[in-house]
């Protein structure tokens, strides 16, 4: 029950596919309370990541994740670029040299990534950002591991918690990012960044299920 380097690459590909499929959906969400670019930004970034697949093919997980992070930093822009860039970079730091990850490793890598996002964006739980998907998801993952769930189960719990966190952003009034300019008018809309974060963890659960 380990996540190999190849499985990490599969996850990234799956996430890229999900972002391409959901590009318009994410853009629509961003149009409602932001500036209608989150879908295009993430898709552009992960298309660039896909073009780096050949050079990542024989690398360790840390290098892969750092390459993804650097690529996102240089191609996404907006808020999403530094935030997802930081997430992958920090996760990559935690997995330097590893050719495979245990559930434990993944929990630590994701924690480092989320901490990076928090440090960079200074958002707290309830500010209506990707943090609202990521933090509950990580908690669920950690809880599942402590309860002895296997990798597939833990990842599924994680993805479901991300989904719930994403949906829970709907009634919130945004306090960070572009949606915060809307004040009360931001309530009633799902946060695009929380949605793309859910997709990331959904991809992990689906691809690593049978690791």
């Amino acid at each position: 029950m380990v996540i190999t380097r190849d499985k990490v690459l599969d996850w990234i590909k799956r996430y890229a596919d999900l972002l391409a499929e959901n590009r318009d959906y994410l853009t629509q969400l961003d149009a409602a309370i932001g500036d209608a670019d989150h879908g295009a930004n993430m898709d552009r970034g992960f298309k660039a990541v896909l073009s780096k697949m050949p050079e990542m093919a024989d690398k360790d997980i840390g290098t892969i994740l750092k390459t993804v992070g650097m690529t996102l930093l240089a191609t996404v822009g907006g808020a999403g670029g530094p935030l997802y860039g930081t997430l992958f970079l920090q996760a990559g730091m935690k997995t330097t040299g590893k050719m495979e990850m245990t559930l434990e490793d993944w929990i630590n890598a994701l924690e480092a990534g989320i901490t990076g996002v928090k440090n960079r964006g200074k958002a707290e739980l309830g500010d209506k950002t990707m943090i609202d998907a990521l933090v509950p998801a990580w908690n669920a993952l950690k809880q599942a591991a402590e309860n002895g769930s296997n990798l597939g189960e833990a990842l599924e719990r994680c993805a479901r918690a991300a989904e719930e966190g994403m949906k829970a952003t709907i009634p919130l009034v945004a306090r960070k990012g572009r949606a915060s300019y809307l004040g009360e008018r931001s309530a009633g809309h799902q946060d695009p960044g929380a949605t793309s974060s859910y997709l990331m963890l959904r991809a992990a659960a689906d691809v690593w299920r049978d690791a």
Binding site: T27, A31, I33, G34, D35, A36, D37, A40, N41, R44, L73, A74, T75, V76, G77, G78, A79, G80, G81, P82, L83, R120, G121, A174, R175, K176, G177, R178, S180, Y181, L182, G183, R185
Partner: protein
């Protein structure tokens, strides 16, 4: 979507190619990463002034690169903050040894990307100061939110800081000018129509034929309130009131009044807006000593206007009047 473009994904590159063809005497355009840089950069011993942001706000920022204004500008994708690598390379390209000022508009994306770039540049030994412009009174300010957006004052900051840098002032002094603009500039905008982001292909928001949005930003984001269309004079009152209520200056002070078009609004309307804005400012005892009227910080083809009021001290007036030669703003040379 009715636009004079080819493929949506080529808009920014082709616009930059057009700029490069049009202004080889003033600017060079660097591709991958994209930035527009003053043709004679780096100017030895001069503070470099850099700004950047999403595309779709032309002439800001690339159109303000030249003599007496910006040394470089980093254009992102449409309405999307540029990335740290662009900013880092541009910072290097304009560092004449006296350091570089980053003029940043207060958007989470811009802030974070510029922060990373500044960190990387400093790590290379380049002195960098960043000033964040946050002048949009349509947004409620608070310690717990992203704060106010940066809008119209940015254009004025770029002109004044560019002039200060051209005079040979130090990085701190140039940044001080920027901080004055940050402290004294207040703006508010409104939209008659939405804009259409090229890769989206449909208007960001739907605005019925008889309605308008008050308190919009420059990214097609919805505003503070939507209401029935009103005569220009009433609209100007609705924009000027929150500005006047918020300015940290008073009757007798000298100001610059900037009436900006959002991209789809013709000059004839901007003068009708200016007329009323000038009257209101004057009624409040403010002396309008300088002005700027035109579409300088736009939101693609959005129809609408924004008004910026900036208190001007003697030094700022001199900096404003100093020669400037850029594609988008030019006088004195």
């Amino acid at each position: 979507m009715k636009k004079l473009i080819n493929k949506p994904e080529d808009v920014v590159r082709e616009e930059l190619e057009g700029m490069a063809l049009a202004h080889p005497d003033l600017i060079r355009v660097h591709f991958d990463p994209n930035y527009v840089v003053r043709v004679d950069a780096p100017v030895k011993g001069k503070v470099g002034v850099l700004s950047g942001g999403g595309s779709g706000h032309e002439p800001m920022h690339g159109g303000f690169v030249g003599i007496g204004m910006l040394d470089a500008a980093c254009p992102g994708a449409v309405f999307t903050s540029p990335t740290p690598d662009q900013m880092l390379e541009a910072t290097r390209a304009i560092n004449g040894g006296a350091g570089v000022l980053h003029i940043v508009k207060n958007y989470t994306g811009d802030i974070m990307n510029f922060e990373m770039a500044a960190d990387l540049a400093r790590a290379e030994g380049i002195e960098v100061e960043s000033v964040v412009i946050d002048d949009d009174v349509a947004v409620k300010d608070s310690l717990y939110t992203a704060g106010r957006r940066g809008v119209g004052s940015t254009v004025l900051a770029e002109k004044l800081c560019g002039a200060a840098a051209e005079q040979g002032r130090s990085l701190k002094e140039v940044a001080d000018v920027c901080r004055k603009v940050k402290d004294w500039g207040r703006s508010m905008g409104m939209a008659l129509t939405s804009c259409t982001v090229p890769h989206v292909g449909r208007p960001t928001f739907d605005l019925p034929e008889d309605e308008m949005e008050i308190g919009i930003g420059i990214h097609g984001e919805p505003g503070r309130t939507r209401m029935k269309l009103k005569p220009a004079d009433e609209i100007v009152e609705m924009l000027m009131e929150p500005i006047i209520n918020d300015i940290p200056y008073k009757a007798g002070d000298e100001v610059l009044l900037f009436v900006n078009g959002m991209g789809g609004t013709p000059l004839i309307e901007l003068y009708i807006v200016y007329r009323k804005a000038h009257q209101i400012a004057t009624k409040h005892g403010l002396k309008v000593v300088r002005n700027l009227i035109g579409s300088y910080i736009t939101s693609l083809e959005m129809a609408g206007t924004s008004i910026t009021l900036l208190k001007m001290d003697e030094d700022m007036i001199k900096l404003w009047d100093a020669p400037v030669k850029t594609p988008g703003l030019r006088w004195g040379m």
